[in-house]
Every structure is written in C-alpha cells, then in structure tokens.
Symmetry: C2
C-alpha cells in the first residue's frame, strides 16, 4: 500500500528516541531533569476552568468555523495593547498554532514552492513544509552572534523564483532571539521588494527580557498585504492542552481563502474557546509575574553556563530556551551518554539535540537546546549535573571532545 512521499519525507521529533532510555534511567532510580521540552510548569490561570465549569449548554454544538465571536472580541482587545489594530474579521481561530501554520502553508504555497526561514528553526516547520510539499531554505544564524540576521544581500541570496514567504519565530524557538526593529525592517524591505509574505510566529510574545522592546511585521501598515501572524495561547497562558491558535492578517483575499480550510474542518473545540476567552481578559500583571520567574531561571542558567568549560552561548533575550554549543563532537552522543551512563547525586539531565532544529541534520551537531522550565532549585541542580557530566565526558572521551 502506498505511503505518500510528502509524509515519508517527514521526520520524527529527535527527542522520541531518548524516551525509552529515560524510562530505563528512571527505573534504575535516577532522577531525570527534563530540560528538553517547552511545557511550562506555570499554573494555568484558574479563570479558564471556572468559565468552563459554569457552562450550561445542553448540547455541545459546533462552534463557528472562523472561531467564536466572543473569543475573537477579547483577542481584539489583547492585540490592541500590543500596538496592533486587528479586528474580529482579521483573525481566525485554529486548533493550536500548529493548524494556523499548516493552513497558512497550504494557502500560500503550491507544491514545490519554497519558504525562507532563519536557522536554527522550530523543528516542526520542517515537518509542516514536507506535509505541504513545500521546500524550506535556511538563512544561517549563529550562537556566537546571538542569532542576529545576516545582511540584506545574504538573505536575498536564498530567495528564488519559487520563494513565497519569509517565516520567522519572534521571539525565537530554539534561539531565544528577539529581532530588533532594524532586523524586522530589513525583512520588511525584502518582503516588499520580492513580493513575499512574512509569516511571523509570535507565540512567545510575552517572553521578552531585559526591557527589550518588541517589534512585529504586523506593526507596519505597508506590510498589510504581506504579514501573517501565527499565534497561540499555549505558552502565553500555560495552556498547551487547550488547542487554541490564531491566524491574523489584513490581507483579505488570503483570509477568505484560509476561511475555506476552517470550514473544511468545521470547528475548534467549543469548551477550549470558552475558557480561552477568559484568559484574554487577564490583565498584564499576570505576565509580569511570569516574566520575573523566567528571567530568574534564565539568569540561573547563564551563571551556571559561565562556569562550564568550553561551552559557547549568548544570554537569550526571549522565549525560554538556550542554544548552547558544547565542547564535544557529537551532542547526540553526549545526550545519550548522560542518560545511560551518568549520574551525579542520583540525577541526570535530558537535553534536546540541536541538529533537529536545522534543515540539514549535519548542522548543529555539537549544539543542544536547553529549556529553562524548571523552578529555581531544580534548575540549579540540573545545571550542576550538566556541568559535572560534561567534564566527565570530556575526560573519559577526549577523542570525542574538543
């Protein structure tokens, strides 16, 4: 029986292969610190479930294909606080940010078209592109440079006649990079010159540190036809289990076409939409507390990494990840060894291999992604374990180290 090329071409998350090993480590009694996943541990605001629990409908009926008006109305107010003027008709509710991306790729690309995106990239973009028979072309950025975008010429060198969009994640996963106003304007100029969409995935919008200001392509009226914002409540409100995403755009013909995909899949969860509308009513004080906590965690990791020999990194300014270049030849080998052969004070750590975040798996082989999603004391202990593990690996395997 045939399996399509587009799905055969999709990868599986690199992480999955470690889980059987992690289970064994845990069965041996080793405590495993999960620094590999972006599942926040912050309590979901209780107003979500309070609203759901107060629901009195006898029949759990289909929601509107475009998303419930009540939710979109609350979202309009939220976006206005961030300098956007998206109205109810400029947004569609999707089954998570993932469906927002999938529908966008399907709508703007014919099979064989291309999307240009900085690397390292959110790994799922690769699978999404494959599922849509779309090619991805990378704009390489580097840990040493804090993942700054290269100049206009270097970006334009990647654009071909098949290119239909530039895709960014801002703040970045896995990079933690927050694009400057100047970088966004560089992309704006390129998008306008080459008639490209800019897809801007802003699910970490609130996770910006050091008082840095936030610039979105959605802030530029001249990009009204080009800009497509992808959004989600998952990280923002620690509500990953509620599948509520957004597509926002002022390009009406694009939105009319995406609406057909929304009609095709009928609706998004009524209960999740009901709860999500309450989350958008929270005042920004909620984010202040979350941000303080994550800033603290980021700084713990920074202070610990500074004391580890041979690692290369910059302090990230957004999201909740570091990409760290390790003094080893193969990060996958090191990650696996940590789980199977190492523990310190009864504990070890699980990291993400960063080559999963590059288009070509030979890139980033000596890098890992580290998510700072643990509370204070756990975060410190995990970093201690990582430092000790790295020292022991290098002393045991000098041939595999730098």
């Amino acid at each position: 029986m045939q399996i399509s090329k587009r799905i055969q071409g999709m990868g599986e998350p690199a992480l999955l292969k470690y889980y059987p090993l992690v289970s064994k480590a845990e069965a041996r009694g080793t405590k495993v610190y999960y620094l590999n996943i972006g599942q926040p541990d912050i309590t979901t605001p209780p107003s979500f479930m309070e609203k759901v629990n107060a629901m009195k409908n006898d029949v759990l009926a289909y929601a509107e294909p475009e998303g419930e008006t009540a939710l979109r109305q609350e979202a309009v107010k939220y976006y206005s606080k961030y300098g956007f003027d998206y109205g109810v008709d400029d947004m569609l509710i999707t089954n998570g940010g993932s469906e927002a991306l999938l529908f966008t790729f399907l709508t703007i690309c014919n099979p064989g078209d291309e999307i240009v995106t900085p690397e390292p990239l959110y790994s799922i973009y690769k699978e999404m592109a494959s599922a849509c028979s779309v090619g991805l072309r990378g704009i390489m950025t580097y840990t040493e440079e804090g993942f700054a975008l290269p100049d206009k010429k270097a970006i334009e060198a990647v654009i071909t006649p098949a290119t239909k969009a530039i895709l960014i994640t801002n703040p970045g996963n896995p990079t933690g990079k927050v694009y400057t106003k100047e970088e966004i304007e560089r992309l704006r100029d390129i998008a306008l010159a080459h008639n490209l969409y800019i897809i801007t995935d802003e699910v970490y919008r609130e996770f910006i540190y050091d008082g840095l200001s936030y610039t979105s392509p959605g802030h530029y009226p001249e990009l009204a036809e080009n800009c497509i914002i992808i959004d989600s409540i998952s990280k923002r409100y620690s509500a990953c289990g509620a599948r509520i995403g957004f597509i926002l755009s002022k390009n009406h013909s694009f939105m009319e076409q995406v609406r057909k995909l929304c009609q095709m899949r009928l609706a998004v969860s009524s209960v999740d939409q009901l709860g999500a509308a309450e989350l958008f009513k929270l005042d920004t004080g909620f984010f202040d507390d979350v941000l303080k906590e994550y800033t603290h965690r980021r700084d713990i990791v920074y202070d610990c990494l500074k004391n580890i020999d041979g690692v290369i990194f910059k302090k990230p300014t957004g999201a909740f990840y570091y990409v760290v270049k390790l003094p080893v030849l193969n990060a996958c080998d090191f990650i696996e060894w940590m789980i199977t052969d190492f523990e310190y004070q009864g504990a070890t750590v699980l990291l993400s291999p960063a080559n999963d975040f590059y288009i070509h798996p030979e890139d980033g082989v000596d890098e890992v992604r580290l998510a700072y999603v643990l509370k204070d004391s756990d975060m410190k202990q995990a970093m201690e374990v990582l430092g000790r593990g790295l020292a022991e690996y290098r002393s045991r395997f000098p041939e595999k180290s730098r």
Copy 2:
C-alpha cells in the same frame, strides 16, 4: 500575493449563501425550520461535563500526540462491542473526524493521485481532496435505487492507475444509505484486486434503522492492510463541539506515518479528550433511546413526503438525512424562493441544495438534502410548510417545474 491553486480550487459550503437571506426572513418575523444542517438537538450526555468539571490539574498540559491513553482504552471497549478488535495502538485521536480524513488523504496520496467514492458524497470530501491536491472520481448512485452501489464492473471502470483508495460513508451522508454485506464484500474484492485502501467513514454507525445489520470493511481480517476507519464522537454522542475524531487501522506502516502528522500538530484538546472518555463508558441503552427518536422523525418525514406530489425518494435506513428529488428544474432556485418569498402560518424551511454533494455541480440540480433533526411537532410542521411551498412554487412557476 500568491494564493495556492489547491486552496483556490476549494469551494465554500453552498449553505453559506443562504444565511444572509435567512437573517432577513427572521427579521421579517418568519419562523425558519433548519432542515439543512446535521447538528443534532439531542442533549449531550452530562457525564462529559461532569468529568471535565471534576478535573483538578494545575497546568493544562499537552496531551499525547497519539491521543490520551485513557480515552483510547475506553474506545477499545466500545469498538469490541461492534465486532472490531482494534487495540490502543491501532487508533489515533484527531481534532474531529475532519482531521482524521485530512491526515489520511495526506498520508496515502501524492499530489495528483485519486480517490474513488460513491456520489452523492459528503461535500467536505471535495474540499479535503482539493487541499491535498488529490483528485476525486465518483461512482454514481441514484435516489430511485436507494443509492445502491453499481456492479463490480461499473466501479472498476472508475479506477485508474492513479487511484489509491475507495472512500465510503457508511451509513451515508447525505444518502442515508447503509451498505449491505454484499456491497461491502464487492468493495473488498475490488480493493484487494487493485491494491487499494478502503477508507470507511463511520461517524453515523449507531444511526441504523429497521434492525438492519451493520457491516464494516474493518470486520474483514483480509482487509487488515487496506482498511482505514474514520470516526468521530460528534453525531454519536451529540458532541459536535468537542473535536474528537479517530483514525483506526491495522496497517502498521500507515499508522506509523500518520503518527508523524499527529506529532506535527502536537496534541488534541485535553479537556475534550477527558470528557470523551466518559462518553465511551455509556451503555448502549443511550443509543436505543436516540435511535427510537430518530426512527420516529424519519417516519414522520416519510409519511409527509408520500403526500407531496412529484417528489422522488426512498426511505433511508441510516444517518439522519433524506436526499429528495423535487419536481422542479433547479433546487437552488426553489430553496431561495422558500426563504425570500414564501411562508405558511408564519413559517418557512431551509434545505440544502444537493448539487453540493456531487463532484460536478450540474449533477443533482433538482435534489435537496433534508436533515430530520427537529423534534416531532416541529418536524411535522416543517414538512407541512415544505409541501405547501412546493405546491405554490409549481403553480406559480410551471416553466421551472416538472
């Protein structure tokens, strides 16, 4: 800015164009009976929300990409009651039956491949196929014949080298047709001879009348590699607003590939999965009551249709729809006239134009789909209005009537 051909090729539900007219009718004070949609009015079993309300998680975290094990375990028990032996690993939970279909189309078809399906068909299959760059080829079936499948030769005539699957809806939407054991075995023989998948959409499994027995391609061990069941709780438990669908198959390599799409979109709503698991615990007595109610409604419609001049139809044996051939040249014109120009005792009815349920819109131009989703007295009144409307239309517009 480019819009892809695949999405440009998608249609919009024919129904949408009537809603502005319906709003006007309602504003005039006309009562509109909605016979156009498949939104059941049966109360959603309260155990769904009871379980949701009892949830105590602090963090609304991602569910497993394959679907929560607790839900799949309950589903295994449900399927065993219907003669299936699908285990937890033979099923994936999806965002409604729609995502199940989308993922299946993407996984088994390359762009340009084809799927063969009886017509009239569930109209969304057309949009789904377009989104996946897949061609649909119809096997024509007829109201007059109760939508019986043609013989083997006629079906095989539609198969080309590009055909990858036969897709059926059983019981059928819009046809109300329940395939006989003999018909299912005819399809089985064809699928085996031509190495095709059989995708069987069984979301109306419980809606089978007159004590008819139910046969699924999933009951045949020889179809283990071919058979893919699409399912959903929407109609079964009157829970359309909870987006819970299923893909079931014993074809392990197919399931492994679909799993990648599940990982790509991360998860299905945690809250909806929690509630859905409770629904699968309901005993079959729940369906007995529902079935009694729908049988009654079906019979009301039947008795009324018998007394309307010139309509052609058979009593359906499944789902909750009739396809009725009207004694008019253009059903769309009649539907619109009913909304804009007709009322009887202050009421009118909204029907679905059936040409939306054919691949070529010139087919079924004199047919409508009628959903019997209203309670007893409303159903009777709606049918009275329809009969009166049809008589008046024919007398006023003999040139548009037969």
